[in-house]
């Protein structure tokens, strides 16, 4: 399991990110101790270049003098929690306005709703990484990537859940040697075409089975198209290179739990980032802007596509929201249903975490464009 930050080895121990206002307490490293790794400017930690291979070996065992007062992460965590408890009432006062309260409620709701699915996905991905041999996927998928893409796309139907579960599983598939094109087709199709989501769509659109069919076909079509596009144009160096052996433990159990721990805190951090963005937009964007967009066909399609990205609603629930957008045409609603599970703020943050920023910056706009096109075409034929 190799989702890792591009930080130099061990850098984390010495330079924990301080909570706001904690800078004063951060000890200055003794002079000369950090010559090879200057303190990064705050906020620059993720862009820091990967040290050359073998840096690990050159890293000296810290001399005993380095152990003198430093803020390691458990201590920092305790300080953060204590500070938060002490400052409870001023914090509550600040958050007392209706705007901040609804922001907090949506933020907590998105996180709490997504965590079980994230944990499910992380357990599955750790199980794939530890217990399923790589040869299984070599046998299960056609060897030609062009054929493996649709097979993987259809296989997305077996992962019940929303998009938070599919990101770690797709990451594990890539590291297990599955062609990235096929893994990406799976990543895009799984949240949209599984039975749970299709059932929810049927419930939200009673008497309109063509909506369910349209969602299934358009999502599968776009997922396969993205897989084939990646196969033609994608470059593996856009993907964060899998680092072997990062989580190797003495036993299979240790490796499994290492992977679970690492993926949960890592993808979870990105999930929180996405939830913050979604809550901000939900609280800040007035809903009556949508009414203005519903009039013209082109604008209404684009408006709902952008709304799907911004709202980051779980794919099990987005059909109900789409159904309530009564001013919009069925095609615009289909666009909302196809775009949302494939790319939204929360997913973008999680994809950047799992596959790397270079990947996410290229993949997200391509997915958005193809999803809108695919949904409009399907809508034109079916609806």
């Amino acid at each position: 399991m190799a989702i890792t930050e591009d930080a130099p080895p061990g850098a984390d121990e010495r330079q924990p990110v301080p909570p706001p206002g904690a800078d004063e307490r951060q000890p200055v490293p003794p002079p000369g101790a950090d010559e090879r790794q200057p303190v990064p400017p705050s906020g620059a930690d993720e862009r820091q270049p990967v040290p050359p291979r073998g840096a690990d070996e050159r890293q000296p065992v810290p001399p005993p003098g380095r152990q003198t007062p430093r803020l390691d992460s458990p201590l920092l965590l305790v300080l953060t929690l204590l500070l938060a408890v002490l400052a409870q009432s001023p914090i509550r006062g600040l958050l007392g306005t209706p705007l901040m309260q609804s922001w907090m409620t949506v933020f907590v709701a998105v996180t709490v709703q997504a965590l079980p699915f994230l944990v499910l996905g992380v357990l599955l991905s750790a199980a794939i990484a530890v217990f399923v041999p790589a040869s299984f996927f070599a046998r299960a998928l056609p060897s030609r990537p062009a054929l493996a893409v649709p097979v993987a796309g259809v296989a997305g139907a077996v992962l019940p859940g929303c998009e938070c579960a599919s990101v770690p599983v797709a990451g594990a598939l890539v590291r297990r040697g599955v062609a990235p094109a096929a893994a990406l087709a799976f990543l895009l199709s799984a949240p949209a075409i599984n039975p749970v989501v299709l059932t929810a769509t049927a419930v939200a659109f009673p008497g309109h089975p063509e909506m369910v069919l349209g969602r299934f076909l358009a999502s599968l079509l776009v997922a396969c198209a993205m897989g084939w596009l990646w196969q033609r144009l994608g470059r593996t160096d856009w993907l964060r290179p899998p680092e072997h052996g990062t989580h190797e433990g003495a036993t299979k159990g240790e490796t499994f739990w290492n992977a679970v721990r690492h993926d949960t805190v890592h993808a979870g951090g990105f999930l929180v980032l996405g939830a913050m963005a979604a809550a901000t937009l939900k609280a800040a964007v007035p809903a009556h802007w949508l009414g203005a967009a519903a009039g013209t066909p082109l604008l209404s399609v684009l408006a709902l596509a952008v709304l799907a990205v911004l709202l980051s609603i779980c794919s099990e629930a987005d059909a109900f929201v789409a159904a309530s957008l009564t001013q919009f045409s069925p095609t615009a609603k289909l666009v909302f249903l196809v775009v949302g599970p494939m790319i939204d703020l929360k997913l973008f943050a999680m994809q950047a975490g799992t596959f790397g920023r270079a990947f996410a910056l290229r993949f997200a706009p391509a997915t958005f464009t193809l999803a809108v096109t695919g949904a409009v075409l399907t809508g034109a034929v079916l609806l």
Partner: protein, 237 residues
């Protein structure tokens, strides 16, 4: 964040999920059907934290560890939902969100039989759809009792609202009933009211999305505590 700290965060996060799942706290944020998943994932997180601590101890016993590999800093963000859930526990969405989005009322398939009782206990969604789409005919002129929270629009007109929820509060949408008749002298937004009244054919439209907002002629109203599940989840069944 090193492994001990990660174990601590996982443990606290799992504990917070278990706490929210065993009390009614989770109902402020997600649908009721998510409870078993919340409890299961909370338990998994606690086990992962314990396993991490256990393997860390074994590793420490194996001798000094030179295999320090970078640990994600983004994981510090996980402290935020933890603090929000434990320290603040924000309330369920209220009148502020309700007035910002349009009513989500939809034409129902059919109207079920009215429940027994006088006045008839009805949900906000049930009354609103019978009144707006069925012209109140399925109410047979009987008195109804509806529970929801108050929202006052800019002009001060009172609405009785219930947020309808499908998955989590991020997708919650209001269903609104406009109130007229005998109302309490002081109206406070977000206060929960149990309103008794009769159907009136008056109908208005939501300024946000032009959706139908039926009126209810109130005969009496009394304040009630926040219900166990503040959202209307009938659309989930």
């Amino acid at each position: 964040m090193n492994r001990q700290a990660q174990a601590a965060v996982l443990f606290l996060l799992g504990g917070a999920l278990l706490h929210a799942g065993t009390t009614d706290l989770y109902l402020r944020y997600v649908k009721a059907a998510l409870q078993p998943l919340l409890l299961a994932s909370g338990a998994v997180l606690v086990v992962a934290a314990l396993a991490t601590a256990w393997y860390e101890r074994r590793r420490a016993r194996r001798g000094p560890d030179r295999h320090h590999h970078p640990e994600p800093r983004i994981s510090w963000l996980l402290v935020l939902p933890l603090l929000a859930l434990i320290l603040i526990a924000p309330p369920a969405l209220g009148s502020y969100s309700a007035l910002r989005s349009g009513t989500a009322l939809q034409k129902p398939y059919a109207y079920g039989a009215l429940p027994a009782g006088d006045p008839v206990p009805l949900s906000v969604v049930d009354y609103a759809s019978r009144a707006a789409y069925g012209h109140g005919r399925s109410l047979h002129g009987r008195a109804v009792r509806v529970t929801g929270f108050l929202a006052l629009d800019r002009a001060g007109h009172p609405y009785l609202v219930r947020m309808a929820l499908n998955c989590c509060a991020a997708d919650a949408q209001p269903v609104k009933i406009a109130l007229t008749g005998t109302l309490p002298p002081v109206l406070r937004p977000d206060a929960w009211l149990e309103v008794t009244g009769r159907f009136t054919p008056r109908l208005t439209h939501d300024p946000v999305n032009d959706g139908p907002v039926p009126y209810l002629e109130v005969t009496s109203a009394k304040p009630v505590p926040v219900p166990r599940d503040p959202y209307d989840e009938t659309w989930n069944n």
